[in-house]
Structure formats: C-alpha cells, structure tokens
C-alpha cells in the first residue's frame, strides 16, 4: 500500500481536521501553571496534572473569572496543532473547579472589582417604593422563580412583569443573563427595576453569578437592579454589584412590592384614628364653652358680692347714725327748753325721764 505524502502544512491541516472531528470540544481538568497575559490581549498558561502538561491559549475577553497558578480549573477547549507543530488547546472558556478554586477565584475578582468601586455604597440607587413595571430575569422553570411570582401576586397587584427566560447555571448562563439585561436596558419603555433571581444550589451552580462580565453588566445597568440569588448564606458578586441585594428570590419579591394587606391595615388604622380626634375636639370645644359659662357666673357672683359688701358698709354707716345706737352707748337725748324751772324730757336707752331744770351754766 502506498503511503500518503503530505506537505507539512497539509499534514498539520489534516491532523487538525482529525482532531476537530474526533474532539470538536473537550473539557479538561487540571492545575494552572505558568499563567501569563501578553499585550493585555492574549492569555497563555499550562494545564497539568502529575502525569502531564498541556499548553493553553485564549484571549483576555474570554477569561470570565480570574485564575492564577496553582488553581484547579476545568477548561473547555479545542485541541489544535499550531503551524509550528506545537500541540495546544485553544480555550473557549475556563472555570474554577472545586470549592477551593471557586473561593479563590471569587476572592480575586471581588478584590479587583471592589478596588474599581463597583460595590461602593454610593453607587446604589433606591428602588421605587411602588413600581408599576418590572423586568425579571430568571429561569421560568426554577423553583425560585415560582416562589417570587407567588409572593408578588400575594402581596401586590397592577404590576406589569416582563420575564426573560434564561439559563441560570452553567457556562451559557452569564451571557444569556447579560443579553437579557441589555434587552431590558434598551427598551423604549424602560422597566423601573430589573430583578435577577435564582434559587439555591451548589457553589458550582451559583458560579455563573460570579462571572466578571455579568457583574459588570449589572453594575452598568441604566435601570436599577435587584438581585436575589441562592439562599441567605450565599454570597455572589452579582449581589454585591446590584443596587439592592435580596437574600433569596422570595425576599426579592418582598423588597420589590409592598404588602397590600399591610397597606389596607394602615389605611383602616388611619381612618379609625380620626374619630377619637373629632371626639376630642368636640370635648375640648365643650370644655371651652363650659369654662366660659363658669367664668361668666363667677364674674356675676363677684359683682354681687362686691355690691353686698358695699351695701353692708353703707348700712354700717347708717347704723352708726341711728340715735338708738348713740343712746345704747350711754348717751341721753334731752327735749325741752334749757331754762331754770323748765320741765324737760330725758330719753336714755331704756327710759324716758321727766325732769326740772335747776341750773343752767354756759360752757
């Protein structure tokens, strides 16, 4: 059998074709080594285990999570022979593998974005107290979404809710969520809030919400964002970049709309509290009227008392002028001519005496 003869470049092309046919895309797990970025555009590193090492190439924009030497990762790649005959993996995506690597990657990106001020409290915008139009980005099949819808329906009404159905885990999730964010941010009729929700899951399930481009898209949203991902204990960078962070999808619903039951109770209380105020005003008014009446009566009494006192004074003066009062003090009243031999009448307090004048001396 005749052996095929290739040119070098043809043979490389045939090998690449074979590789592409056999392994259109592979996922390989290993540890990162010799990580470097050239010209701020190209990323080179090796992925290795105890038995071997493979060279990897990707662009900076494809690197969605920070990685560093020693970190365990899973790469999604296309195997290739370069024109220089070197075997290399062209990386489509890379994600940390295992809890330690996820945590390390999370901390690295958190520190980077924190430094840029993406999580700064002064960037946070308040949500409208009663929104009328909201957008929701979630998987409509997820339990977290069902909880969210049930709670908003229980709590409030009249709300227009536009829902973008997206994947909320896996390699495609960040891009789908970013597209949904872009979609809502470019509507003519902007929603008042964009809500991103996903129920609980493993650290790997929730890793999509630590994607750098997604976190940046949330921070850059024109429309205020509310993010409720996972359970209360879960923390994602998407949460931190959001204007408002909810502990869970149910909590997001509670933060988004008021409870109509509470409003009804408050309204009832407001009206009930008016009646005592009217009663109190009536009672105050009647107290004022009755106080005025009492005042008038007291003034009249005072005047009468004053008059009585004055009258008593006059009567006292009159009593002093009464001749009987003078007689009572021991004086006597003499009637008749004051000449010797004349008969006179002497009136005392108790008797009237007839007497003859014996002597008259002028003082």
């Amino acid at each position: 059998m005749e052996k095929p003869l290739f040119s070098v470049s043809d043979f490389i092309a045939v090998i690449n074709q074979t590789l592409e046919y056999t392994y259109p895309a592979v996922e390989i797990e290993g540890e990162v080594a010799s990580f470097k970025v050239n010209q701020a555009k190209y990323v080179f590193f090796d992925i290795k285990d105890t038995g071997g090492s493979l060279g990897c190439f990707m662009t900076v924009w494809q690197l969605r999570v920070p990685i560093e030497d020693g970190m365990k990762v899973i790469v999604s790649a296309v195997p290739k022979i370069t024109q220089w005959g070197k075997f290399s993996l062209t990386i489509k995506s890379v994600r940390p593998s295992g809890e330690g690597a996820l945590k390390k990657s999370f901390e690295l990106l958190k520190a980077k974005l924190e430094l840029e001020g993406l999580f700064a409290p002064d960037r946070k915008r308040a949500l409208p107290s009663i929104p009328g139009h909201v957008a929701v980005i979630s998987s409509t099949q997820a339990a977290g979404y069902a909880d969210f819808i049930k709670i908003i329906n229980d709590r409030w009404g009249g709300l227009r809710v536009d829902v973008a159905h997206v994947q909320v885990q896996g390699a495609d999730a960040p891009d789908q969520i970013i597209r949904a964010l872009t979609y809502f941010n470019s509507r003519d009729e902007l929603p008042e809030v964009i809500v991103i929700i996903r129920g609980g899951g493993s650290a790997d399930d929730l890793a999509a919400f630590n994607d750098e481009q997604l976190v940046r898209a949330i921070a850059a949203s024109r429309v205020p964002t509310l993010v409720g991902v996972g359970h209360e204990v879960d923390e994602s960078l998407a949460d931190m970049a959001a204007d408002v962070r909810a502990a869970t999808p149910s909590n997001a619903a509670q933060l988004l709309v008021p409870d109509r039951g509470e409003i009804i109770r408050a309204v009832r209380y407001q009206v009930r509290s008016l009646l005592p105020r009217v009663e109190s005003a009536v009672s105050q008014q009647s107290t004022i009227v009755s106080d005025m009446l009492i005042g008038a009566l007291e003034a009249t009494d005072g005047r009468i008392d004053q008059q009585l006192i004055q009258l008593a004074g006059v009567r006292n003066v009159l009593a002093q002028l009464n001749p009987q009062t003078v007689l009572a003090r021991g004086y006597a009243l003499i009637r008749g001519a004051q000449t010797v031999g004349a008969m006179i009448e002497v009136e005392t307090n108790r008797s009237i005496i007839k007497a003859e004048v014996k002597n008259v001396q002028r003082k």
Binding site: I130, D162, V163, I264, V282
Partner: protein
Amino acid sequence: MSKENKTIQAKTAELAQLVAWFDSEDFTLETALDKFKEAEALAETIEKDLTALKNDIQIVKQKFDSEA
C-alpha cells in the same frame, strides 16, 4: 407605572392629606364630620382597589441563548 397603581397612590396621598387636616390649623368642627366621612369612603375604595388588582406577567418572546 400603571394607571391603576397611580390612582391608588394618588388616593393614598389624598387620604394622608385628609388625615393631616385633622391635625392642622384649618380644623373646624363644622367640617370635621364631612371630612371624616370622606376619609372613610376613600379608605374603602383603596381597600377595594388593592384587593381587586392583578399582576400582568408576560414572558418575553425574545430568545437569549444566542446573539440576536
């Protein structure tokens, strides 16, 4: 914001104004009863409106699994 919600908000604001009137210097006993009846009726309307309102939930037709 929907028209219905605006109306509820406007009614709630109106109720708050009515309640505030009872504490204001404009308060007179002559008008208090009318104002009270007005507040009572408004509260009832707000309660009815709130109970009757339903949310309008629409799934966006646009697909997000690839660049549009």
